[in-house]
């Protein structure tokens, strides 16, 4: 009976938002849409005026579009970490989180790749990349890697969605709109839940889980190589590949925590997204935070100890010069404060973790700014470089991108279950089985031998 009721409440809770959402949801969506439209207007302005509409000029020729690009591609690593790495390591607690994480990945790649379009002087010629692409160019590596990642992530989002789509097709018949039901029917590809189908699906998912990990690592590695293949101070670094990958996973985890907290609240998922899920992600956040601190130390100490000409100028600017506020804000507010909040007992709870994650994401955006802009402010020959202050066009496109990210997410949540119902159900069932096993076993043998208890305990620990 217990099982039945939790199963029903799982289904009804997760499927509810597909059928009906509150007024606040619509208002928020309309607000986000208006911000996106502002971004569209800014882009049209930029198309007519050219990149002259931005604050970028000959010396500081990359700006916040590139910052946003690295930022969004960074948080796209959320999905890979949670659903692939945790799946491969068989961490059962991941099940209520995977769908959201994969969704972050897909949406973040799409928004991130768009930033590159914004940044082109000739967006109308973007197809030259396909016509004349040279594999020697880091930008083409990006194109290959990111497009592969997008396709792979879409597949990886879609595969575990199939049983849930079939569920929607069956349960929501007559309730959801015709349009949605048609989507479910087509995309569910005749899923009936037969053991044969299940076996195939599980196999396909585990293959994808393994394939997607190296692809994800390649993505942020080649993103970093756009910078580190140049002869510029602060970019010319062998550490950049792994440094960017860790930073990506770090900001990805922070993004999941924020997204989870939001959906938990507005879709009333408290029962399934418990504090323990947040705490486990909090641990991962702390681990990647420490790793990122380590990489940051390794990067700046090796530069700062030697203080070679141009490096010295860059570090002076970062530590004590014009970019010091940004650099220290990243270091203190983006790394040390969140670490303290995750470690400290008083703030190791859901609100604390959400605040820490928000700080991490703001800090990591600033960090990407600190990577891109100050390096360009270092004159390579003795001339004046000038300053970079983004224009309203750049800020509007940035705001529009963030709003678009949220809007795509909200749209997705209106059509597809935001939590993997079948996986959560399986996980709940295995948990229940373990509990009943324990209850039966213990009174039957008051003094069991350790050999009999241990396997059960080991199961439980998993």
């Amino acid at each position: 009976m217990m099982k039945m009721s939790s199963k029903n409440s799982l289904e009804s809770t997760v499927l509810q938002p597909i059928l009906k959402v509150g007024k606040g949801y619509t208002i928020l969506a309309l607000f986000l849409l208006s911000v996106v439209l502002l971004g569209v207007f800014a882009f049209l302005t930029q198309l007519s005026q050219g990149l002259a509409a931005t604050a970028m000029r000959d010396k500081i020729f990359w700006g916040i579009y590139i910052v946003n690009f690295v930022f969004f591609i960074g948080i796209s690593h959320a999905g890979t970490l949670i659903s692939a790495i945790l799946r491969v390591t068989n961490a059962g607690w991941r099940t209520p989180i995977t769908r959201m994480a994969e969704m972050i990945t897909v949406v973040a790649i799409m928004v991130g790749a768009t930033q590159i379009l914004f940044d082109q002087g000739r967006p109308d010629r973007i197809f030259n990349l396909f016509l004349y692409g040279r594999y020697q160019s880091p930008l083409v590596w990006d194109l290959l890697s990111i497009s592969t990642y997008l396709v792979g992530s879409c597949m990886y989002l879609y595969l575990p969605l199939i049983p849930d789509l079939a569920l929607c097709r069956d349960r929501l018949a007559g309730q959801a709109s015709r349009f949605k039901l048609a989507i479910y029917r087509v995309l569910a590809v005749g899923w009936t839940g037969a053991p044969e189908q299940k076996k195939l699906l599980e196999r396909a998912i585990s293959v994808m889980a393994i394939i997607i990990i190296p692809i994800a690592i390649s993505v942020h590695t080649v993103v970093s190589w756009v910078f580190s293949m140049t002869l510029r101070p602060g970019w010319n670094s062998t550490l950049f590949g792994p440094y960017f990958v860790i930073g990506a996973i770090f900001s990805g985890i922070a993004s999941i925590i924020i997204v989870m907290a939001i959906f938990r609240k507005i879709f009333h998922l408290e029962q399934f997204l418990e504090e323990k899920h947040f705490l486990k992600l909090g641990t991962l956040l702390a681990v990647t935070n420490l790793a990122y601190i380590y990489f940051t130390l390794a990067e700046y100490l090796t530069m700062g100890y030697k203080l070679a000409g141009e490096d010295k100028e860059l570090l002076t600017m970062l530590f004590a010069g014009s970019q010091a506020p940004a650099f220290w804000a990243f270091l203190v507010l983006g790394l040390f404060v969140p670490l303290f909040m995750v470690v400290n007992k008083k703030t190791r709870n859901i609100p604390g973790l959400v605040v820490a994650s928000a700080l991490v994401n703001v800090g990591m955006w600033i960090k990407r700014f600190v990577i891109v802009v100050p390096t360009l402010q270092v004159p390579l020959l003795p001339f004046d470089v000038g300053i970079y202050r983004p224009t309203w066009v750049e800020w509007s496109l940035t705001a529009g991108s963030f709003a678009g990210f949220a809007l795509l997410f909200m749209l997705f949540a209106r059509i597809f279950p935001i939590m993997s119902i079948w996986e959560v159900r399986e996980e709940l069932e295995t948990e229940k089985e373990k509990e009943t096993e324990k209850v039966i076993e213990v009174p039957a043998q008051p003094q069991p031998k350790w050999t009999e208890v241990f396997p059960a305990k080991r199961e439980e620990a998993r």
């Binding site: 509409a53 000959d58 396909f130 020959l381």
Partner: protein, 287 residues
Amino acid sequence: MVPKSIGRRQFLKLMGIGGATALLAPAVPAIMEKLDRNKAPGPSGSTGKSSAKKLRQWVMVIDLKKCDGCSTLGDIPQCTKACIEGHMIPTGPNGEWVQKWIEVLKEELPGGGNYFLPVPCQQCENAPCVNVCPVGASYTNEEGIVLIDHRRCIGCRLCMAACPYSRRFFNWGEPNQPAQAKFARYSPEFPVPYIKGTVVKCIFCAHNTHNGKLPVCVQGCPMNAIYFGDLEEDVATNKVEIVELSKFLAKNNAYRLKEELGTQPRVYYLPGHGEEFRGHNFERTKA
């Protein structure tokens, strides 16, 4: 049961094929480029590396002893002026110079006073800008000059990031160019009229070399400080004297900017003002 399971299997197979296609699809341009290159050696794919035999290797030699930044004339640097006028280079909205393809930088001398350093595109033999171009718009022509095909450039500015001399510029908006520029016939060797959203740079006056003319900056220099010549023919001139290039460079302790980067610039400098002989320390003196 059986047909059904085949259906699934087929579906998954199709998914697999679809996935493989998606993985391979982006490689198509590279393959196409390869085929294309076999057909006709065009700009795309040239890496700027020196091949065995070259028609020409244009070089510039700038004698820093002679250059005074036109300060004794009390005028703006004449090489820059000649360059901007000769190429109809777009200016700012009020006619101010925004793109100095050859820029005369001022450096402080250790013992006080200044010396001047005219910097055009270094026309590197191992050009980092050519290496990173994603569409092969930047290329090295057979005479060793790095050029840009502005009809192909997508404006990603990766080349500007790659250039260690900051010698590339960008047409950020609609280029503000003289009216007669509209009548010019575009070619990468004389990229007029200029195109919005593309990268531009010094082209060593590639259009002049065919006509036996010197680059406009060489013509415009009142101090005859700039020599232009060909490494293959081993000759250079500053329009008043003709020198044997290799001996001239050796005799005068010629050096190149940031030689340690391995870019192999084709612009040589002759020191003589007391500035550091090699490996210029370009650390900026704080104002």
